[in-house]
Amino acid sequence: MQTTTSSGLAPRRQPEARLIELLSSDLPRRSARSGRGPDRLGGPDAIVAEGLGKRYPNGIEAVRGISLRVGTGEIYGVLGPNGAGKSTTIGILGTLVRPTSGRAAVAGFDVVAAPKDVRRNIGFAMQEVGLDELATGRELLVLQGRLHGLSRREAARRADLLLELVGLESEANERIAGYSGGMKRRVDLASALIHLPPILFLDEPTEGLDPRARTAIWETLERLNAVLDATVLLTTHYMAEAERLCARIGIIDRGLIVAEGTPAELKGAVGGPNATLEDVYLRVTGRGFAAEETLPAELTANNGREAA
């Protein structure tokens, strides 16, 4: 039961609490509305990639055989230098980039054969925000929700809630063109959440945000993960972000996963209790593929060894 304030009014509940209430309701949110059945490649894992490769028409081989599995409800982090292949990998999994080899399934659906089914089950916040600057924040979210099949009322309700959650309720009806970079990042993330997707792809979601906004995003993701059991695959350059959020981390370099494990496992592998994730990162990526030899076999990805 809610308590009342001295004014007699019920205190405004935190948006997080209302989001949890929303998520706990019986809204249809996980159904893959397709006649086709899930791809068996998917199995019980939310995200499966096997030997993914991408060679762009200009000859650049951005991804050279990445295999990974992300369990339902897991937060999986992808670290790696600029140009390592992180965005291409997440782009393939999010159906925006076509792989040239290998295959992948998201929510049980093949990303090439059933991209629409994949899209119904994912939210995607890209590295560079993708916003309609003529729209208001609220309009953007409502449209995104409607395109995902929500009713007008439901889309509006969720838009208001999410805008409050990311601290943009007072700017909800202002045009996005007038938002600051951080505000754009937050509304972009909110738009990826409007349909409460079971799987989230976040490409450097807190890049350019101030520490407070970054922490707010982290807390939101943790709640979503806890309440919705949402699977999250995120790329980041922030070690603290990876360490706080991710159950497992894959480090990509030159189109390959060169190390994979829990943060503790990765740190343990480079020696000593005082090792940091940054130590692991620098050691693995700083030495190129030879670094794999210095890591225990169970932490180096098979695909990385094959390519090396």
Partner: protein
């Protein structure tokens, strides 16, 4: 979700946003109206030539002025599409179940609706200048429909494909002059009888715009010529089917 639903949502998005970009409306209507007035005055004496179908040159010119509104005007769709690429909003839309086709069509239909109304403004000006529409209000609507659909399937699809291919608004704007070629190489300003060059006549006969213009002019000057109207719709359908494979191919290029 039916594919028409995202198309409608995206059409609505564009319609709602038109007033927020007043430059599009402000700069697209007056030049055509001015051109209509200037060309009408420049070539007014043509109406005295034997065999010219009307005494009021504005009546003759009005269908061409409608096309002058709709054909270049539809390219705004492609510019907006390319802009959505540049600000990466298009990729955000592509992560939803909406298809590239819905995104493109949503934009074209919204701009088509705008141009339908803007074409109507041209006809109102013609009426104000003493012109009459032989088929009345219904014929005017049909004339605007033909002009708008033709613009969508020709220049609209061409420039939208260019936007899909180049993702660059400047590249789309570079083909704007082609719109005027489509119109100038027709009987937009004078009848075939007055054109001496056999080559030019052959070009006019090969220009699909000419067949659409004939149907529209018939509605303006004489009445419902169902043969001409049928030919115009066949031209629209044929060009639409012709553009389809290119469009499908360019859809695919959106996914990198």
């Amino acid at each position: 979700m039916k594919s028409t639903w995202p198309t409608w949502l995206l059409t609505k998005r564009t319609l709602v946003q038109f007033p927020r970009n007043p430059m599009v409306l402000g700069f697209s209507v007056p030049p055509v109206l001015i051109m209509f007035l200037v060309f009408g005055a420049l070539f007014a004496s043509v109406r005295h030539l034997p065999g010219f179908p009307t005494d009021n040159y504005y009546e003759y010119l009005a269908p061409a002025a409608v096309l002058m509104t709709t054909i270049p005007g539809i390219a705004n769709s492609a510019v907006a599409l390319a802009t959505d690429f540049q600000n990466r909003y298009l990729y955000k839309l592509l992560t939803t179940p909406a298809s590239v086709g819905s995104i493109m069509l949503g934009r074209l239909l919204a701009d088509g609706a705008r141009l339908f109304i803007q074409g109507g403004a041209v006809l109102l000006l013609a009426l104000a200048l003493g012109a009459q529409i032989a088929t009345g209000f219904a014929g005017a609507l049909l004339m605007l429909l033909i002009g708008t659909l033709f613009a969508i399937v020709t220049f609209g699809v061409l420039t939208a494909n260019l936007a899909l291919k180049t993702k660059d608004p400047a590249a789309v704007q570079a083909v704007f002059p082609m719109a005027f070629l489509l119109i100038f190489l027709s009987t937009a300003y004078q009848t075939t009888d007055q054109i001496e060059s056999g080559v030019l006549r052959a070009i006019i006969d090969a220009n699909p715009t000419e067949y659409v213009l004939r149907a529209m002019r018939g509605l303006m000057l004489t009445g419902y010529d169902w043969t001409a109207i049928g030919v115009a719709f066949l031209v629209i359908l044929g060009l639409g089917l012709l553009g389809l494979p290119f469009t499908i191919r360019n859809y695919r290029s959106v996914y990198r």
